[in-house]
Amino acid sequence: MSRSIAIGATLTLVFLGLAALSFIYTPYDIQSFDIPNKLHRPDATNWLGTDHFGRDILSMIMLGARTSIAVAVLAVGIGICIGVPLGLLAAARRGSLLDELIMRGNDLVFAFPSLVIAILITAIFGPSAINAIIAIGIFNIPVFARLSRGAALPIWERDFILAARVAGKSSLRISIEHILPNITNLMIVQGTIQFSLGILAEAALSYIGLGAQPPTASWGRMLADAQTLTSIAPHTALIPGMAIVLMVLGLNLLGDGLRDWLDPRIRIART
């Protein structure tokens, strides 16, 4: 499905581009407020209007994209960096106590209500982007651990692995040299999907005030700020919401497209 990839990649690139551009340029400085100019509708001066502090919403969206992407990428990074090694280890020591421990640990994490745990984490360490990353990242670990273990197991049965074992390679080397390259595609596809879930999770956490703190812009907090303004200035709630939807949609289309393109046979676990 190249159409999925095309639409998905375009949307994703647009937001990545906006986020990258925000490092060197935003239409306005969002740190200085212009309260007399608050809640302007979109027009030629402010393409997407202004918020309750008179800040330019387009600039906020650009900076918010940066926050969303950074949080989601790092959360997925935590999931991959911890989850994949655990999964490979469990696969290499299949049936051992270690395998059982890792898999039961995964089940345990899955058993915790994720939003509640995220709230608890921020209650302990205080709300911040970093703690949002940790809270989202923790729940990515079992996803990647389970997936990589499941993908690695059949590979261990293949002949070339047997050959490598006969050649005396340690299971650590086999995991890194032979198993890992064979599951990379799968991880990329799942990573894209977890990325989009991470964007949604970041938005939800920021919406309840537990994500990045002001003055860092964040889509979820823009929505929280706009929630009482929906009837007088609908654009303040619609625009950040649309940004989230488009970004997530783009990533999902990209992920689905990539899956079909890379290998139609692989199955992705989606929650």
């Binding site: 059982e100 039961r104 089940d107 345990l108 899955f110 058993a111 915790f112 209500p113 994720s114 939003l115 509640v116 709230i119 608890l120 209650a123 302990i124 197991l153 989009s196 949604l200 938005a203 939800a204 919406y207 309840i208 929505l223 929630q227 929906t230 009837s231 609908p234 709630a237 919401g241 989230i244 939807v245 488009l246 997530v248 949609l249 999902n252 289309l253 689905d256 989606r270 929650t271």
Partner: protein, 314 residues
């Protein structure tokens, strides 16, 4: 089989013990003294000490963990510090909002997802399939709290068809169901999108199986084959997803419960965390974890009964 059940029971017990230790430890390190919060800024030190004594906060840690766990085993979840009522009573009140809401949302998502998934699968690649799949992509991408905001704006404020929130209680069942409708729709949308996609792909997998080919060779039309054989077989993965979604919905409605100010379990946890009513937090979180672990255990057992191959776990 008995050995299998025994080993699963052992791991269930160990999981529960591990979970209880994790929860207790997390709750212990949360900053913010519950007693200081309850008494506010004009509290005197002697008053604080008196209250901390009353709340049992001055006891040593292991003693408090032990008291909590043994209490739960005997069905005593403790007394809420802020509400001064037994936690079990609080949970009992709230569960009658959260549970019906979860069931309602699941019901809505199922009646949307099943037909959508079946239509999409039976017209694979056609207009219906493409538009349904596009809609599900959108459904997965919409944050449910944003969707809820929009629902309130349209149906409560502008059209005034539904009340904006709150829960009248089950004395008036119709009003109760009505007040759960908007929240259930907000919760159901993304779930329906996911479910429709699972339904479709599961059906497509089954349509490719040999027995469908056999059935079609025997003269069934594609549609007959789909309805008589594929749908039934495709239900297994779908039911698994429904099971997962149910436990998610039970606790996952925090934000939705907040937006519609429903007195449910999620909001109870949220309020208790900010009021540092830690005894409520730890007991309710433990209860939710318990439900999920037990449901997983039951699902594993059910699978093992159906499919003996699973007894030697891969």
């Amino acid at each position: 089989m008995i050995r299998y059940i025994a080993s699963r029971l052992l791991s269930l017990t160990l999981s529960l013990i591990a979970a209880s230790i994790v929860i207790f430890a997390v709750i212990e390190v949360i900053p913010g003294d519950p007693a200081a919060f309850m008494l506010g800024v004009n509290a005197r030190p002697d008053t604080l000490l008196a209250l901390r004594d009353q709340m049992g906060l001055n006891d040593p840690l292991p003693l408090r963990y032990f008291a909590w766990v043994t209490g739960m085993l005997t069905g005593d979840f403790g007394i809420s510090w802020t509400y001064k009522t037994p936690v079990a009573e609080l949970v009992n009140d709230r569960i009658w909002v959260s549970l019906p809401l979860a069931i309602y949302a699941l019901f809505l998502s199922t009646i949307i997802a099943f037909p959508a998934g079946i239509i999409a699968a039976s017209r694979r690649g056609g207009m219906g399939d493409v538009s349904i799949m596009g809609a599900t992509q959108l459904g997965v991408a919409i944050p449910n709290f944003w969707f809820a905001m929009i629902l309130v704006l349209i149906f409560a404020i502008k059209l005034r068809w539904f009340s904006a929130g709150g829960f009248p209680g089950w004395d008036t069942p119709l009003l109760a169901i009505k007040s759960l409708t908007l929240p259930a729709i907000a919760l159901a949308l993304p779930q329906a999108a996911i479910l429709a996609r699972v339904m479709r792909s599961s059906l497509l997998d089954n349509l490719g199986e040999d027995y469908i080919r056999t059935a079609r060779a025997k003269g069934l039309t594609r549609r007959q084959a789909l309805w008589r054989h594929a749908v039934r077989n495709a239900l297994i993965p779908v039911l698994t997803i429904i099971g997962l979604q149910f436990s998610f919905l039970l606790a996952g409605g925090i934000i939705i419960e907040q937006i519609f100010f429903l007195p449910g379990l999620g909001r109870l946890i949220f309020q208790s965390i900010s009021a540092r009513d830690l005894i409520v937090v730890e007991s309710v979180v433990m209860l939710l974890v318990f439900v999920v672990i037990v449901v997983n255990f039951a699902v594993d057992l059910a699978y093992a009964v159906v499919d003996p191959r699973l007894r030697s776990r891969t």
